[in-house]
Subunit: 96 residues, 2 copies
Amino acid sequence: MTTSFRFAVNVTPKPGILDPQGRAVEGSLRHLGIAGVSAVRVGRRVELTVDAPTEREARETVDHLATELLSNPLIESYAVENVGAASSARAQEPVA
Amino acid sequence: MTTSFRFAVNVTPKPGILDPQGRAVEGSLRHLGIAGVSAVRVGRRVELTVDAPTEREARETVDHLATELLSNPLIESYAVENVGAASSARAQEPVA
């Protein structure tokens, strides 16, 4: 018996690491007439469904995936978020 | 007087929209020997600091930015998260 768990992995550039996308956003702010915005950092957000017997095992799978495939541990850090089972992505791509 | 608010904008492909990055992650799973993972969706996570008199005004700035610059409303949806003032990005790039 397995249960489906839905997670989000937030991957962000580590402090001190250059973030060209964040700088590009900051450079566009004045063209949009937006003031007061600073310290922009652009990362990735990966949402996924894991089928596992327990939430702990599901989290282990997510951690494995996050370090091996979703992030570059040298320059990025990640945080795992439990986003519940009922997500739009599941509705669209049902778990087999 | 303004206060600094730290937000994260999570941008995800809308249901029904193709997500080539998500498919690429799914295609790599078997090489890593990871089973039970499905419905992978890859989006962006943008963290930023907004200086504004009230949190409501700060949120309005974030919404403006999210629709104009950070997401493509035709194919992506976004959600705004309050992540508090004390973030690593602020420590690295102090608010002017």
